[in-house]
């Protein structure tokens, strides 16, 4: 994948670090709680603690920092955009800079800082989840956690299956796109320059073959599943059972401490 190789956002990296070996459910729960407490906090020093927790988790995962941050490239733009919006549009408190009707005020700076920290911390923590959890474990975890909702008629198994198929086929589709792009480029297609119309026309040469192959794949997959006796959720057992270990216990205890601390110190 030469052309699309920057799309590494959250792609699973196999390894056997502490974080990799956690049960997906505890990772999910931790991420959820972390996101909530990060959002509710309004003390600058608490954000120092959250950043420390994040750095500690990253260390535990043994992933290379450069790789993690490269995968976040698409998010930078969003982050900078929100910071600028907050900086200029939130009014109140002391005025720092003033050019005509244009001003940066104390509350704006404060808000921009909080938003940046919140988004940044949560995005990195969530990419840590997908980087250290195989898609299989991820969807198994989701299915298990949503299990209780089956009683009220939510098609949990089907949702989890759809999700896992979607995740499974993202790299395949990217590869396919790359291959088709290369094939059309070999026939002189130019996706990089030219006007709007010529570029849109060039895209057709990618989109149509891509759709054709996606449908063919979907049909093949459905057929292969039926041929191997897939009949939905009923009576289906799992090859790999999820199980909690002492590691998950540690994470849960840590999580409770975190919630209590934030509850006490939040003013």
């Amino acid at each position: 994948m030469s052309i699309l190789q920057n799309f590494t956002l959250g792609q699973f990296v196999p390894s056997d670090s502490f974080v990799h070996r956690l049960d997906p459910r505890s990772k999910f729960l931790f991420l959820l709680v972390y996101a909530v407490v990060v959002f509710l906090s309004n003390q600058i020093w608490l954000y120092a603690v959250f950043t420390a927790i994040l750095i500690f988790s990253l260390r535990l995962s043994k992933l290379s920092l450069a790789y993690i941050f490269r995968g976040l490239k698409p998010v930078w733009f969003l982050l900078v955009f929100t910071i600028i919006l907050q900086l200029f549009l939130t009014k109140g408190g002391e005025v720092y800079v003033q050019w005509g009707w244009f001003s940066i005020e104390e509350d704006g700076v404060r808000q921009a800082f909080f938003i940046a920290m919140r988004l940044g911390l949560i995005v990195v923590m969530s990419s840590l989840l997908t980087l250290t959890t195989s898609p299989m474990d991820l969807t198994d975890g989701i299915e298990k956690m949503l299990g209780p909702f089956k009683k009220i008629g939510l098609p949990v198994h089907e949702l989890a299956l759809m999700l896992s198929i979607a995740i499974r086929f993202i790299p395949t589709l990217l590869e396919e796109t790359d291959k088709i792009m290369k094939a059309q480029m070999s026939r002189g297609a130019n996706f990089e320059s030219g006007g709007m119309i010529s570029r849109a026309k060039a895209m057709i040469a990618i989109v149509i073959p891509l759709f054709v192959s996606a449908f063919r794949r979907a049909e093949d997959l459905a057929l292969a599943m039926e041929a191997r006796g897939y009949r939905g959720d009923v009576g289906r057992t799992k090859l790999r059972q999820l199980a909690f270990s002492y590691r998950d216990g540690l994470v849960i205890v840590f999580m409770i401490l975190m919630v209590v601390a934030v509850g006490v110190w939040r003013v």
Binding site: E176, K182, A183, Q184, M185, S186, R187, G188, V212
Partner: protein
């Protein structure tokens, strides 16, 4: 056009945990007008190598020369190279997209700014080379053809650009024997007629024995052997170690020579099926003549 690779390496996913060196320090040179068979085990780097010839992949290190054009890791513009090097991918039928066969075949020539009537003319010729009945097929949808016909249309789409260098990545994979032969014969004819330089990637030793005059053997992303088919096929043991085999004809000659007396040994140049059968026929007819 002459093609040469000078210490070319390519690494997929550089700087990620999925980093993978697909070819390393590859150097070789192909004279203009030769028909080169590129062989090697699955994953040995054949597809990666050939994508460098028209600049789809830029080398991580090293230089590729195609005629006068050089490609280095810094090269930006490659559009002119693409009109000179036609590349047929593995399963090229997956790249078809136009409403009709003729439009799809004309896609390449039109991209290189050929006038419509000339593009049409070239498309017609290309479809005839790959053995498709032009009038019958030109207005049909490419998606309603059989797999083999789609493959031929896709190959015609590259031939219609009238490249000077033709690169084919397993063009016959998954076809029936007659279809394989027909397609390759068409390609071989155009190779001779237009004096193309052709690279054929294949897993079939029979195919390289029949068409190639040069062989390039890859193993683990490196050039393991290069030479004429005769030279390469004489190193049977080395090929074995690379999980490759010699063609049936070569092992036949080998086994026959074990039984024949010293003065009647068959020459190792008889690796083409036609040559071998022709030789054996004359030999048998001679014997019959003597017997009478």
């Amino acid at each position: 056009m002459q093609i040469s690779f000078e210490n070319v390496s390519y690494v997929y996913g550089k700087g990620t945990p999925f980093e993978k060196a697909a070819i390393s320090d590859v150097s070789f040179s192909i004279p203009s007008g030769s028909f080169v068979g590129v062989i090697g085990q699955t994953g040995s780097g054949k597809s990666t190598l050939i994508q460098h010839v028209n600049g789809l992949l830029k080398p991580s290190a090293g230089t590729i020369r195609v005629g006068e054009i050089a490609i280095t890791p810094e090269t930006k513009k490659v559009h002119s190279l693409r009109s000179k090097v036609g590349l047929v991918f593995q399963y090229p039928e997956h790249q078809l997209f136009e409403e009709t066969v003729i439009q799809d075949v004309m896609y390449g020539p039109l991209n290189f700014d050929l006038p419509k009537d000339l593009a049409y003319q070239r498309a017609k010729e290309a479809l005839e080379i790959v053995g498709l009945p032009f009038e019958e097929i030109k207005d049909r949808s490419p998606f309603h053809l059989s797999g083999g016909q789609m493959r031929r249309v896709a190959i015609a789409g590259v031939l219609a650009m009238q490249p000077k260098v033709l690169v084919l990545d397993e063009p016959t994979a998954g076809l029936d024997p007659a279809g394989r032969k027909a397609i390759l014969n068409g390609i071989y004819q155009i190779h001779k007629a237009e004096q193309l330089t052709t690279l054929l990637v294949t897993h079939s030793m029979e195919e390289v024995a029949r068409y190639a005059d040069q062989l390039l053997v890859l193993a683990n992303g490196r050039v393991a052997m290069q030479g004429t088919p005769e030279e390469v096929f004489s190193k049977k043991e080395e090929l074995r170690e690379l999980a490759l085999d010699v063609p049936e004809t070569v092992s036949f000659v080998h086994r026959l020579n074990e039984r024949l007396p010293k003065d009647q040994q068959l020459s190792p140049t008889l690796y083409k099926e036609e040559d071998l059968t022709a030789y054996l026929l004359t030999l048998l007819q001679q014997k019959k003549g003597e017997g009478r």
